[in-house]
Amino acid sequence: MQNSFFNFLFLLLYKHHSKHIAVFIVSTLLVGLLASFMFLSSSIKHDALISLKEQPDFTIQKIRGGRSVDIPISLVDKFSDIKGVSYVAPRVFGRYYLPDRKHYFTIVGVDFFDEQLVTWINKLTKNIDIKTFLSKNQMIIGNGVKNYLKNHYYDSYFNFLTPTGKEKKVYIFDTLQKDTNLIANDIVLVDINLAREILGIQEDKATDIILNIPNPSERTNIKQKLLLINYDTRIITKDMLEKEYENLFNYKGGIFLLLFTITLITFMLILFQRYSMINNSDKKEIAILRAIGWSIKDVIKLKILETLSIAILAFLLGIVLAYLFVFYANAPLFRDIFIGFGNLQNSTTFTPVIDFGMLSSMFLFFIIPFIASVLIPVWKISITDANEALK
């Protein structure tokens, strides 16, 4: 490719800029939209799956009438006896609905004498001084909770209303770090017994029981054993959760892509129409080229490169804008579609997760329809008869 060729190409791009500019802007917006969506969803998926890794291998709930009820702690010893199970612990947690009956806190009870649990907690916050924490009723809260409390003039404590009607004053000990916002926005961490009080769970019961089974090949066996011990339990495995997450993301993603496909098809039709409008000066231009020795093949090559340059430039610009939008501006408006506008206000930032495969997917998704739409218009103008140059 010679300099002369590029000179000529740029000339044509500039000369026809009124035709190209609209296409360029719309293409950039389309690519930007697609890329924002893909960056956002893969970033959230990435973070969600990482937090999922912290989940226990098995979660066991007691079922009555199809619904989960509190599970007796006595089962913990029974489960520990099973060979292959490395860790068993009861969990106490639940939703505490606020006076508006719409929003809630997620109360998580922690047994601070359980070393494993404490290591997990320390991942979310900095190292806490357990003694000071347990000296009175205190909680560690997520950022969404903090904002809510501030807005309702609760500076240093909150009054929980227990199911027995008693009020329980709990002081704020600390707030979780900002980067936990995706999963821990509405969390209230308290001592396990305090959690039981707030949620109205009896001393010898728990919300569920978690198990860790380090050897993956034993998991199916153990699941069957557990079901034999208690047939009225439901066992949720980490694999199932991972697959459900994947499916959820793919489902949401699929809907978006479907809608986007419809937009793309409309765009293709517009492209086709736009480039099919050939005016006389365009014709003359091509006729001159043909008259001085360019073959139809050469003209087609030139014209396709001309339209491709627009497509590629728009693609690159769209990607860059989407990157800035998602990872610097934190994707206002867009984010709500993903994070779920159910509960408390969330202000997470997103970790950039991009790979070559994602970029190729976007590139193919955009370029293939683009090229397909311009092939016929490009041909139409390239076959202009050379004798038009004589007129």
Binding site: Q2, S4, F8, L11, Y14, K284, I292, D298, A386, L390
Partner: protein
């Protein structure tokens, strides 16, 4: 060099009318001949030139240029022929106004796959031959009529064609520039080019470089 036998060209207009532009044309042009095609507007001389340049395909007849059958060439080879063997100079110059002279002259060379250095060499040579080197970097729309003409000549010469075809070259030039144009044509004749000029400008009639004048009227050679 050029052999034309029984050439016919019929134009079909949209409403089934026919216009018989060339009727049974036969003549030959030898190498390095300078031939004038003389006739009024509409006599068919421009059509004849266009067919020789393979810009139009004849309805019937034979035309052999440089031992090649021109009448039946598929597009790839017609354009190669136009690129290498012919240099065409249009009545309305047909330059790209926003490009400079040297960029305009380089355009025929782009699809040939030559490297940029070689392109530059050929462009320089053509500019010199057409006597327009001093305006190489000027944008085409800022050139005078005569300079545009010489730029067009340079472009026609850039790929070392053997045949130069000109369609009413002096129609848009004043007397002074027309004479300058003739000077360039005289140089080309000396350098061995075969030249065909379709014109009704009398300024050519008395040139002693002209080897032959072919008069065309109503599509027939007189």
């Amino acid at each position: 060099m050029i052999q034309i036998k029984n050439l016919n060209k019929i134009f079909h207009t949209n409403n089934q009318n026919q216009f018989h532009a060339l009727k049974d044309i036969t003549f030959n042009v030898a190498k390095n001949e300078f031939v004038l095609l003389s006739g009024v507007s509409g006599s068919g001389k421009s059509t004849l030139l266009a067919i020789i340049a393979s810009l139009l395909k004849p309805t019937s007849g034979e035309i052999i240029v440089n031992h090649k059958q021109i009448a039946k060439l598929p597009d790839l080879h017609a354009s190669a022929y136009r690129n290498h063997d012919i240099g065409f100079i249009f009545q309305s110059f047909n330059l790209f106004d926003t490009l400079s002279v040297e960029e305009n002259v380089a355009i025929p060379l782009i699809p040939t796959g030559l490297k940029q250095k070689e392109i530059d060499k050929k462009v320089t040579k053509a500019l010199k031959l057409a006597n327009i080197t001093h305006k190489a970097t000027t944008i085409a729309k800022n050139l005078s009529g005569g300079e545009k003409q010489r730029c067009a000549i340079a472009r026609a010469l850039v790929n070392d064609p053997q045949i130069i075809l000109c369609d009413e070259p002096t129609a848009n030039l004043d007397k002074e520039n027309a004479l300058k144009f003739i000077e360039v044509i005289k140089t080309l004749k000396q350098k061995g080019f075969t030249i065909l000029i379709a014109t009704h400008d009398s300024i050519f009639e008395n040139l002693h470089e002209v080897d032959r004048i072919i008069h065309i009227n109503d599509g027939k050679i007189l």
